[in-house]
């Protein structure tokens, strides 16, 4: 059950009914400010992500891709429709600690050292001290932060902080890993490195991944499927199957198919924009 395994779970392969993540006709509207009308963040979005698939959500600002993650993690309630994780409501999955969330801001607790930050979800779950320390050390190895257990967050670089945030999100062995532009604030070199690390990390974990990004290259490189969205109101424009071989590596970028998929994705994104060019 390692690197090559994800290759067997082809996007088209029928997953057992009810497993994975599903959005059924989800709409979300936020009350408008002052005399503005309510904002329709999502309009009837349906999407099924089979278990252990890696799906990227891409689109311009305001297309509701982050809102989708907030719906499935029970931060935002849909005004219509429903989201499901393995057939259950997001709240049930959240309370069972089956969701890991990595935000654009690493949001580490500055009063805790790195190891204690990673252990936080386990601590909140009431896991015994020794057990959570053991698990946290494992995770620091996984994300490449060995030796920084006792460092304060502000002593770390931006990329290292995000590694710690990823380790924290994986602490409770979530079934679903949500990532909201996790590398958006990083420089390109760090970002490229962390993309390759993420390939390795997600192949080592068993989680279904929903990954929000602005970069079509990043989306194609990492995903089994790329979901292209358009704004106002947020809806899905198209879904691109990424049929690149796994495991992905730096060499993937030299694959002619990689370039084709990026072009296809860019074209779909363009359609989304042109709907709204006044």
């Amino acid at each position: 059950m390692r690197a090559g395994e994800r290759a067997h779970t082809k996007p088209s392969a029928a997953a057992p009914v009810g497993t994975g993540v599903a959005f059924e006709n989800v709409s979300v509207s936020f009350p408008g400010q002052a005399d503005h009308p309510p904002i329709q963040a999502l309009d009837g979005v349906s999407l099924e992500v089979p278990e252990r698939q890696f799906v990227s959500l891409i689109g311009p600002s305001g297309c509701g891709k982050s809102t989708l993650l907030r719906v499935i993690s029970d931060i935002v309630e849909p005004s219509e429709g429903a989201a499901r994780i393995d057939g259950r409501a997001p709240r049930a999955a959240r309370l069972a600690r089956e969701i890991g969330f990595v935000f654009q801001d690493p949001a580490l607790l500055e009063w805790r050292r790195v190891l204690e930050n990673v252990a936080l979800p386990l601590e909140l779950a009431g896991v015994a001290t020794r057990e959570r320390e053991e698990r946290s050390r494992e995770l620091l190895v996984l994300v490449g932060l060995t030796g920084f257990e006792a460092a304060w967050p502000r002593q770390l670089s931006g990329g290292m902080r995000q590694r710690a945030a990823i380790a924290r999100a994986l602490a409770t062995r979530p079934r679903v890993l949500l990532m909201d532009e996790p590398f958006g604030a990083l420089d390109q070199i760090t970002r490229d490195r962390l993309n390759m690390e993420l390939v390795r990390i997600t192949e080592a974990t068993q989680a279904t991944v929903l990954f929000v990004t602005h970069s079509i290259r990043e989306a194609v490189l990492l995903s089994d499927r790329v979901v292209v969205m358009s704004p106002r109101p947020g809806r899905i424009v198209s879904v691109i199957d990424v049929d690149l071989p796994r495991p992905r590596s730096l060499a993937t970028r030299d694959d002619p198919r990689y370039i084709e998929l990026i072009k296809a994705g860019a074209a779909e994104l363009e359609k989304g924009y042109s709907h709204h060019d006044e």
Binding site: D74, I75, A107, W111, L120, A125, R154
Partner: protein, 271 residues
């Protein structure tokens, strides 16, 4: 690997006197130079002792009756410490209630702010009328003064948590108690220390002002009686002792702060 840490705290390999010395000698030198200049000025210009007593006269005045002065100082110290503790505690309690209960803060905060603008010299006689002529009334005045800084800082501190961290706790299914103790309270600690540092200065002021109004002991009492008899060197001695008490308080709180929130940016060692 730790070599790549971008900044480090004061090296822990040195013993603490070696680390504290750079912080201790500059103020000592300042005090020494100021004392010498002060002494010289009073001698050269023949300034009368009731106007500005020289450091040596103040020193003599202190050693004339050190036991009595220190006893009075002890009374003031006791009033300040107890008043500071009670006031800070009650202030923190109300600040917490304000942070969690918006209607309460809306309804009550304007009056708490208003109470803070009342000069303590105006309210002290009323409090002394209520609490009597003993040490209790001086503690009550100090409590009144120390209430506001912590109420406000506690409220602001508990509201200062990061919204993304709130989402992290939500996704991790944290209970309200866990959110308070593991997120909001740690976020509030820097504010709590700001309030406490204000309070340690206020507490000495509160105790002395209360003693001005009515007392038969304490540094405020000494200052009032020596002023009436124009025994200015002794007054100055009392004044310097009160400043030293405030300074010691402040140093103790700063030391605790260094220990409790070493992670905070205000604790960065600058070179």
């Amino acid at each position: 690997m730790t070599s790549s840490l971008r900044e480090s705290h004061a090296s822990s390999t040195e013993s603490w006197p070696a680390r504290a010395w750079p912080l201790i000698w500059p103020p000592l030198a300042t005090a020494l130079i100021a004392g010498i200049v002060w002494e010289a000025v009073t001698v050269i210009f023949a300034i009368p002792a009731y106007f500005i007593p020289s450091p040596s006269r103040i020193w003599e005045a202190f050693w004339g009756a050190p036991g009595t002065l220190l006893w009075h100082a002890g009374i003031t110290l006791l009033e300040a410490v107890i008043g500071c503790l009670i006031g800070s505690f009650l202030g923190a309690l109300l600040g917490t209630a304000f942070a969690y209960w918006r209607l309460l803060s809306r309804g009550l905060l304007p009056f708490v702010i208003a109470s803070n603008t009342i000069p303590v010299v105006a309210i002290a006689p009323i409090i002394i009328l209520w609490f009597g002529h003993g040490i209790e009334s001086k503690i009550a005045v100090t409590t009144f003064l120390c209430f506001f800084p912590l109420a406000l800082n506690m409220m602001k501190g508990l509201q200062s948590y990061d919204r993304v961290i709130m989402d992290v706790f939500h996704v991790a299914a944290a209970t309200p108690l866990q959110r308070f103790f593991k997120m909001r309270l740690p976020s509030a600690l820097p504010y709590i220390f700001v309030g406490t540092k204000i309070n340690v200065s206020f507490s000495v002021i509160g105790a002395i002002v209360a003693e001005f109004v009515q007392a038969d002991r304490g540094l405020g009492f000494v200052i009032m009686t020596t002023y009436r008899t124009l025994n200015m060197p002794r007054l100055w001695a009392a004044l310097i002792i009160s400043a030293l008490i405030g300074l010691t308080f402040f140093a103790i709180v700063s030391l605790i702060e260094r220990f409790v929130i070493p992670w905070h940016s205000s604790m960065r060692t600058e070179t």
